[in-house]
Amino acid sequence: MAIWQFVGKRVANYFTVSTTTFRSLRPLINGDSSPVNIFGYRRFESSKAGQQLDLVSSDDDEEQNQGVDFPGGRVGFTSEMSFLHKSSKKRVQCYRVLDDNGYPLSSSQYQHVNKELAVKMYSGMLKLQTMDTILYEAQRQGRISFYLTSYGEEAISLASAAALSGDDLIMPQYREPGVLLWRGFTLHEFVNQCFGNRNDYGKGRQMPIHYGSKKHNYFTISSPIATQLPQAVGAAYSLKMDNKDACVVTYFGDGSTSEGDFHASLNFAAVMEAPVVFLCRNNGWAISTPVTEQFRSDGVVVKGQAYGIRSIRVDGNDALAIYNAVRVAREMAIKDQQPILIEALTYRVGHHSTSDDSTKYRPIDEIENWKTARNPVSMFRKWVQRKGWWSDEEESEFRANVRKEVIQAIQVAEKTEKPPLDYLFSDVYEEVPINLIEQERLVRETVKRYPQDFPKDVPM
């Protein structure tokens, strides 16, 4: 699956270390086989000196031998002073399987997906889209306080979930309910969390869309950005200790890559050889901050190399590409006990959340373009329909059914009782301590004395 790449230019010297230590470098998987690409890498499976010295002149040969064993490995010298380019002249290319019209590219390397899987993926994407639409509207109507859609990123969450096993742990940011959906979280369960009612697994303690389900191996979402990244490394560390055939997949956005936790986590995962797949949803926007203001590197994929992590850039709107890349990444992570970085390029079609109006900082036609021309759902639909596994009638029927189900779930959730008062004080610690028992008693007393000032629908 890996595509090896030769380094063309003299600048490669700076990356060249002696064969004995070369194993520590990780290859950058790159579709371009042109020798001009400076930052491609080779990986040795044996210590054949021949390949390495191929493109290097004989002068360098001698200098190579005059290396020094610095802490960290042997480094060759050069008398030429040349600074590394801040980025390669050509951007890292993006792996895709289907073209813009949903036709598989002949040169693509991918594994075929059977009907059952494809239909499950596609219908999951539809379900997610429909659920998002209705719950967004529900927020607008004042029925829930907050919502966050996954428009434009349906392929990422569904296709990646499809490539994983149920034992793989998911540490999400907040724009990946699709993964839970794939794993069997019901519409009722989603809606209960949004309404914060008694049946919410989070017991009404978190904002809407902060899902969490231990039985689905989906860790509860925590709002601060990138906090899940070091936790993912820790979870992977525990899998490593237990020698499990599973990995951790953690999702985050382009904005998260600015957080310190991101850098430390990649570094830790590499040093500790933890089986984590870091999946970055580079959707171009962090609320109103475009990626050009977020970082100056060639996206996120090149950052993996800085930490010694194998990385790949994938078309996030191409469900099959995501499926394949994640499947392989997972295998590599588990077999080699190494972290992998996947950058899924996509676009955040919706607003950041219901508290945002993205038309204020980006042109409407840009949004429209991504919504129509490069829509992951419609792209995949074309492929699935052409295979004869889906039809227009099924589409409208499915959409209508899901719509009905979601609306019904909302109606039920609205009527469901809110969590009782003691949920306010439980689970802060394993067992409720005296000070909290006291505080609960005070609250109950106050409510009893002034019942008119407190909501009637909270069970005591």
């Binding site: 697994y201 978190q206 709002s223 601060p224 490394v233 830790f268 005296i434 028992i437």
Partner: protein, 410 residues
């Protein structure tokens, strides 16, 4: 410093035994550990049926849940069984290590992570020898990123491991504040109880000997508001080992505060296994005239002052509060009800420290029993200076404690 303790103990056992109930336990004979436990039960009888006894027993159960020994210790028996065992002498950091090692032996899920904890053995040698014994996956050396390895510990804990996260100095854990506050303390609650975080976060803190301001932080004042965590401070080898074990066994996230200057304290601790109660305070010296509440290093300053006070005819009751969150208001309350005067001696800064919260808590709960306003001696609100003389005067010294008691007891 430990020797001061022993001498005070010796002195008080003469005066204390006839002035009040021998049911109060005292540290004059640290060997008679189990005997103390039995007596403690009586002291606590007026509360809800609390944890079964003091120094030697269970952890885990909250205040009013009567949980019998969760710990596989020898069943409680009077002093007879311990009297025959000589105990062994060790330094505080060795006691911590012993506690760590016993827990790692007992439960394969216990692991340690932090900077230089593995082959280097920890910057204060607390984890020395553990990496060769348990392998470097269980005693994990991490790169320098406190927020990241604390986050890592939290992730591992949510998966069922029981990590002990070491901050090389407590002050560095300020970098981990996000993970500690937003995740460690919160995730059990926000996940609806689905994920639990049984981590222990530990490290040396407090004002040392000319370590400079950044290495002299008192993190207990910053962490005390975080809901969902527990905080304990150890001060003797005996309670260091017991609290370490209790913290590891607890399913709640516990922050164990050690003090840089106390690592070389020597004491003889029992050979048999014991686990202390995380929420309990320790009666260091029973007395009648004034209740002095303290913890960690200040305990020794207080005991030194107590020597002087005793010579001057005062009878201070010294309690090492040990549990910084939650406060053991039961023990403290009993003491206040007896002496009616409270002096708090802490190392935190004046503003917003443990003393400030404790003052508020006592005032709120025991105001009727106080004959005088609570006096709280703390460090000044300044960054700790490097110069030795200045540093000495930022922390509370024994003469100040003596003066305060004299003032309070007028």
């Amino acid at each position: 410093m430990a020797s001061i303790l022993q001498r005070i103990g010796a002195a008080t056992s003469l005066s204390s035994s006839n002035s009040f109930d021998t049911k109060k336990f005292n540290l004059s004979s640290p060997r008679s550990v189990i005997g103390r436990k039995v007596s403690n039960l009586d002291v606590r009888s007026n509360g809800a049926n609390k944890m079964n006894g003091g120094m030697n027993c269970q952890i885990g159960g909250r205040a009013d849940h009567f949980v019998t020994n969760a710990v596989a210790t020898k069943p409680e028996a009077p002093a007879a069984s311990t009297a025959s065992k000589p105990g062994h002498e060790l330094l505080l950091f060795e006691a911590l290590r012993e506690g760590l090692e016993e827990e790692m032996e007992r439960d394969a899920r216990v692991c340690i992570m932090g900077e230089d904890v593995g082959h280097y053995g920890g910057s204060y040698k607390v984890s020395k020898g553990l990496a060769p014994k348990y392998g470097d996956l269980r005693v994990l050396d991490t790169p320098i990123a406190e927020n990241a390895f604390t986050g890592m510990g939290i992730g591992a804990a949510m998966m069922g491991l029981r990590p002990i996260i070491e901050g090389m100095n407590m002050g560095f854990l300020l970098l981990a504040f996000n993970q500690i506050s937003n995740n460690c303390g919160m995730l059990h609650y926000t996940s609806g109880g689905q994920f639990k975080i049984p981590v222990v976060i530990r490290g040396p803190g407090g004002v040392g000997r000319q370590l400079g301001a950044e290495h002299s932080q008192r993190l207990e004042s910053y962490f005390q508001s975080i809901p969902g965590i527990q905080m304990v401070a150890c001060s003797t080898p005996y309670n260091a080992k017991g609290l370490m074990k209790a913290a590891i066994r607890s399913d709640n996230p516990v922050i164990l505060f050690e003090h840089v200057l106390l690592y070389n304290l020597k004491e003889t601790i029992p050979d048999e296994e014991y686990v202390l109660n995380l929420e309990e305070a320790e009666m260091v010296r029973p007395g009648e005239h004034v209740t002095i509440l303290t913890y960690s290093r200040m305990r020794y300053h207080v005991m030194q002052a107590a020597k002087t006070l005793v010579n001057k005819g005062y009878d201070p009751e010294v309690i090492d509060i040990r549990s910084l969150k939650p406060f053991d208001l039961h023990t403290i309350g009993n003491s206040v009800k007896k002496t009616h005067r409270v002096l708090i001696v802490e190392e935190c800064m004046r503003t917003g420290g443990i003393g400030a919260s404790l003052t508020a808590a006592i005032n709120e709960n025991f105001q009727d029993y106080l004959d005088a306003p609570i006096v709280c001696l703390s460090s000044q609100d300044v960054p700790t200076p490097y110069a030795g003389t200045l540093e000495e005067w930022t922390v509370v010294q024994p003469p100040q404690i003596v003066a305060a008691v004299e003032q309070l007891c007028r």
